[in-house]
């Protein structure tokens, strides 16, 4: 479309929604720049908000400017200077802003750095996990309070309070607006990845009493992951996380039956997996591996997910490779849940007898007592061995342990469906 159609005219009215669309694209970078200039997230957001109001007033007549991000930033900077003039803090602050002519668009590299600082401050360790999630969606994702509230199914004022408290905490702790230095980077990056994966999982395995997924949240998490991958292309775990999310999200359409009941991976209709998304997962995993460093936990999980995503069927999956990947993951991150998944893979790679041995060894340790998937997996393997009576007892135990209604119904159905020995 030609630039000319941006201008005013009978066929081109810039509506409120169009201004909001620009806002979604530009807001994080505008706010990031303003946080650097003011040193305060609350103030930066207020200024950006004033600039948005100005855009809503002016763009319907003038059309959307050629570089709307720079327009918003410039207006916000002018408002900052006006505000400081009225107070007497002008002298100190004016320097930082005057050094950067208000009308000049900041160079791309500077904006990228600011955005990265915004990511790290939003996921700062002084904040609670909940606050990190909210602030990241709001500042980096550009979501409104109401959009976040809708995604988490809580009232808007709750989210508004979370944002206010988080800003106050950051201000009180005098958290600097900076990318962590190399010594801290691994740990701080892990916190950022955790926040993004948490948002993804909240959408993928909705915990709020629901059995369905929240595709909106998984997509926001993926968008945040892709933004971060662009900001930190040399960090393999960022690409690993993006790959993991792409692979998992590619199965969303196949994960539930028409009645909303869960369908296990091996039983899913693979023609319903999103091939385009699997392709993106493969590309992100390759990008992580191409950096030539040892695979971290997200990249290993992505590699596991890739085995499933690229296999033509459950039977034709490379289960030996999956066992090896679980070994690597367990070495990095010892966990009985990983061991249980490994036992399932062993049963697929080397047969149910070997799988049962692995599960029984785990059950003997007692770390998974009360975890419904332990008897569920054991029941599954016993059923494959034709030991139906024992299998039924395990499925019943699993059904009594799960808190998810849909899962309970499925496990009970398996118990009821077991033939007599």
């Amino acid at each position: 479309m030609a630039r000319g159609t941006r201008g005013p005219g009978p066929h081109c009215v810039t509506k409120h929604d169009a201004v909001e669309a620009v806002w979604r694209i530009e807001s994080s970078r505008v706010i990031a720049t303003l946080v650097r200039l003011t040193g305060d997230i609350g103030q930066a957001e207020d200024l950006a908000q004033e600039a948005l109001v100005a855009a809503l007033e002016q763009w319907p007549d003038s059309g959307i400017p050629k570089n709307p991000g720079a327009w918003l930033t410039t207006v916000a900077k002018r408002k900052a200077i006006d505000g400081w003039r009225r107070k007497s803090t002008l002298r100190d602050k004016y320097h930082s802003i005057a050094n950067e002519a208000p009308d000049a668009a900041a160079p791309d590299d500077l904006i990228r750095d600011d955005l990265l600082r915004l990511v790290f401050i939003s996921c700062h360790p002084v904040l609670t996990q909940e606050a990190r999630v909210t602030l990241t969606l709001r500042l980096v994702g550009g979501l409104s309070t109401e959009e976040i509230a809708r995604a988490f199914l809580v009232p808007s004022p709750t989210i508004g309070q979370r944002v206010t408290r988080a800003k106050r905490t950051l201000a009180a702790a005098k958290v600097p607006f900076e990318v962590p230095d190399p010594r801290e980077l691994t740990e701080r990056l892990a916190a950022v990845l955790e926040v993004i994966y948490l948002i993804f999982n909240e959408g993928y395995a909705a915990t709020a009493g629901e059995d369905w997924m929240r595709p909106g949240l998984t997509r926001e998490a993926l968008r945040l992951g892709r933004i971060l991958a662009n900001l930190m292309p040399r960090e393999p775990e960022v690409h690993g996380l993006v790959a993991l999310m792409e692979f998992q999200a590619s199965r969303m359409a196949a994960r539930t039956g028409p009645d909303g009941s869960p369908i296990l991976l091996n039983d899913q209709d693979r023609t319903r997996w999103d091939r385009l998304q699997i392709g993106r997962g493969v590309a992100s995993l390759a990008r992580a591996d191409a950096l030539g460093r040892a695979r971290g936990p997200y990249t290993l999980q992505a590699a596991l997910a890739a085995c499933h995503a690229t296999a033509p069927s459950a039977a034709k999956t490379d289960w030996h490779l999956i066992v090896a990947l679980y070994d690597a993951l367990a070495a990095l991150n010892p966990s009985p849940v990983i061991d249980l998944n490994r036992a399932v893979a062993v049963s697929m790679a080397s047969g149910p007898d070997a799988g049962l041995l692995a599960v029984d060894r785990l059950a003997g340790i007692g770390a998974l007592a009360g975890y419904h998937l332990l008897p569920a997996v054991r029941g599954d393997i016993l059923a494959r061995l034709g030991r139906w009576g024992e299998a039924r007892a395990e499925f019943e135990r699993a059904a009594s342990l799960t808190r998810n209604e849909r899962e309970r119904a499925m496990l009970q159905a398996r118990a009821d469906g077991a033939p007599a020995d």
Binding site: T5, I25, E146, R150, L153, E210, R223, I227
Partner: protein, 139 residues
């Protein structure tokens, strides 16, 4: 939601020449912008229309016709698939495509939720919207 931006075949992009460095750089900058915003799902350019073929169907009959074609203006020369929050966002990206003639068609892609209106999440969100209607935007 997903949108597909289809670049229509046009004398400028169908000329028998490779794009200039300037054109390539401008398109590269646009694509970078889309990637940096986390919105790019796919984007490809297609070889000229005349090098393609049509397969037409009539019952069991298949007829293959090679290019060039009479009405090539309606055919696509390239496409992007974008993850966006609204149709307006898709249109805003389309406005930024650095071309100086021709047209881009903006169409929404069907997704799983479009078919799952009965599921509990969709219903829960409908309920949420009803309960919170009129609270207004707080950005």
């Amino acid at each position: 939601m997903k949108y597909m931006l289809m670049l229509k075949a046009d004398p400028q992009n169908q000329q028998d020449r490779m794009p200039t460095d300037e054109e390539l750089n401008a398109m590269g900058r646009f694509n970078e912008q889309v990637i940096a915003a986390g919105a790019m799902l796919a984007g490809e350019g297609l070889h000229p229309v005349e090098t393609g073929s049509w397969v037409s169907y009539d019952g069991e009959e298949r007829v293959v016709t090679d290019g060039p074609f009479a009405e090539s203006k309606e055919l696509i020369a390239g496409f992007w698939i974008l993850q966006v929050a609204s149709k307006e966002e898709a249109l805003e990206w389309a406005r930024r495509i650095p071309i100086t003639s021709g047209a881009v068609e903006v169409r929404r892609v069907f997704e799983v939720e479009d078919f799952n209106q009965e599921n509990e999440y969709v219903q829960q969100e409908v309920k949420w919207r009803e309960e919170h209607e009129g609270q207004g935007r707080t950005a």
